[in-house]
Amino acid sequence: MSDRFDSLLGQGLAILFALGLGALVILTVDESPMKVLVTLLNGAFGSPERIAGTLLQTTPILICGIAACISFRGGLFNIGIEGQLFMGGFWATWVGFSFNLPPILHMLLAMSAAVIAGMAWIAIPAFFRARYKTNEVVSTILANYVAVLITSYLTINIFKRSGGQSETPPIFESAYLPELFSFSRLNWGLIIGLALAIGVYLFFTRTSRGYAVTEMGANPKFAEYGGIDIRKQVFLVLIASGAVGGLAGGVEALGVHHRFMEGFAPGFGFDGVIAALLANGNPIGTIFTALFFGALRSGSLLLEVDTTASREIITVIQALIILAVSAQITIRRKASDSTAGERRWKF
């Protein structure tokens, strides 16, 4: 308990330190740090609409974060969540505008398409990782670029709606993911994300399959020795991670945008990965780190309007916070792992 308290305290101090540095940066661009902070808070939590806006930003980060958590737990690094999200978003939209089906069924079908697209998009890197140990960090990063280009191609060259927008036709209302409140686009995606976080947490800590994945991530040789089929498990873990990544795209397409366009959801995949890393791969912790990032994103929107500081300042502060926290997490770890050999990056 006190350990946990210590670590929270440490993280808090690290964030304060980063904010201090951030304040200096803000001063250099001639704005009052206090005003920026107040605007940020106001933008993130100033009214029910803004809180909803924050949660709206949190949702995709959270779901992507969970996708990342799944892969981390298995000792794998799916950095291609961005690509799975784009693929999921596109194919959910495609089902959404191509078919005319009864309401809930349509939405479920579109969501399944998102999940399948996410899985399909990671299937090849997953296969090669499982079978030939091909580094999944690089293959999934590269696949991101391809996913973005392919979905752009499909959007603009094949399925473009008429008019000047680079986007697909809108989906039918029957495929909408219902909104939670009348005053915001915040939708069931948030509930899906929260349920997923708890579900994934319970899966990993309480079930025998979750145990198998956990041990594979912690010590693959031990897991292999214990009779766990590493190849199959690696493949399944990556596929599951990709499925959740695709789901994130489905939620964005069906819950928020109701269509697919260029610049559909850039950066959420990476933010999710970082949120998961900061939470040390814990899905419950990821809820909070995702909320933190969501608040920063949504708060910074008001910044452009109300101050002379730009959103990039927030990007800088966000990066500083990540750096400070990442150092802080591991200062504590350092006490126990003193050997140099343990600190090698596992490919």
Binding site: K160, G164, F264, V305, R311
Partner: protein, 311 residues
């Protein structure tokens, strides 16, 4: 009464956006209005909140909007806040709640294409040109707005010089001048000696490549003649500064901007024009110049209809 003006876009840093900012700065200085620029970035999820943040307080009398990706958020917000005047720049939508400032970039590009085609036909008669009989086009991303330039350019070239081949390529990004320069080198290598850039910062690479290769390029949106002096043959200007300033002036003067009205800037109004760069102009033969004037008149009079992709 104070007039508050806002502009929202993700492209303030690129040619056309720069022109808009210029117009607003002028309005700030000459008309004493207050100006707020809101940079959208590129995250689709943010747009609606950004519009809400702008419109909610009701303090802005006129809001300029530029960028097709903002259209959905714009229409939603314009409907929800009928008291705020939204002006959509560079296109016309169905919505009756929005004022439109439309630029006929296809017309200007038509002339650019005609110039390039006519010059390419002259071939090695002209300093720095070969006999490739081809002209190039480097777009940023392959999106409808950019294609609008391209179809005009293509039509202009085909009309003025039917035998000249057009090689059109897209960099896939507006942020990679190195790629722009590389693409241009590739086009030069394949026989194009004049390349038209419609690619934002990527396009700067196109212009620089023309200087490096000793060939020619055509600028876009604003006067780019001085980016690579002696190698930028012309610039296709979209005089957004003038258009924006005039609209702000109308508001200051108390005129109402009719919702749904379309203010078109084209060759006829002079809102769009092809500027021959002075340092290259004397290399351009008189017959080419005459032909350009003739085509311009034909477009202005409606004799030639230039195709478009953004309606």
């Amino acid at each position: 009464k104070d007039v508050n003006v806002a502009a929202i876009s993700g492209y303030f840093s690129q040619g056309f956006g720069v022109a808009i900012v210029e117009g607003l700065k002028k309005a700030e200085k000459d008309l004493g209005v207050k100006v707020k620029l809101v940079d959208t970035g590129n995250r689709a999820l943010d747009y609606e909140e950004q519009f809400n943040n702008l419109a909610k307080g009701g303090e802005y009398d006129i809001v300029f909007v530029m960028g097709w990706e903002l259209v959905d958020a714009l229409q939603k917000t314009a409907e929800a806040y009928p008291n705020t005047k939204f002006v959509f720049i560079d296109g016309v939508l169905d919505s009756k709640h929005v004022v439109y400032a439309n630029f006929a970039q296809n017309e200007g590009s038509f002339l650019a294409g005609a110039l390039a085609g006519l010059m390419a036909e002259k071939g090695s008669d002209i300093d720095g040109l070969g006999d490739g009989k081809a002209i190039g086009f480097v777009g940023g991303r392959d999106i409808p707005v950019i294609r609008d330039f391209m179809v005009g350019y293509e039509q202009g070239a085909k009309t003025a010089a039917p035998d000249v081949r057009l090689d059109a390529v897209f960099a896939g990004t507006f942020d990679d001048p190195a790629k722009g320069s590389e693409l241009t080198m590739a086009l030069y290598g394949q026989g194009s000696d004049i390349v038209y850039n419609v690619a934002g910062p990527t396009g700067e690479g196109v212009l620089q490549a023309s200087a490096a290769a000793g060939k020619y390029s055509i600028g876009v949106d604003v006067n780019q003649c001085n980016v690579a002096p002696g190698h930028v043959m012309a610039s296709m200007l979209k005089n957004a500064n003038v258009a924006v300033f005039d609209l702000v002036k109308d508001v200051v003067d108390g005129k109402t901007l009719e919702p749904g009205s379309v203010h078109t800037a084209n060759l006829k109004t002079g809102g769009v024009e092809l500027l021959l760069c002075p340092d290259v102009a004397d290399k351009i033969p008189a017959d080419v110049k005459a032909k350009l004037e003739e085509l311009k008149a034909d477009i202005a009079s409606g004799k030639i209809k230039v195709a478009t992709t953004t309606q």
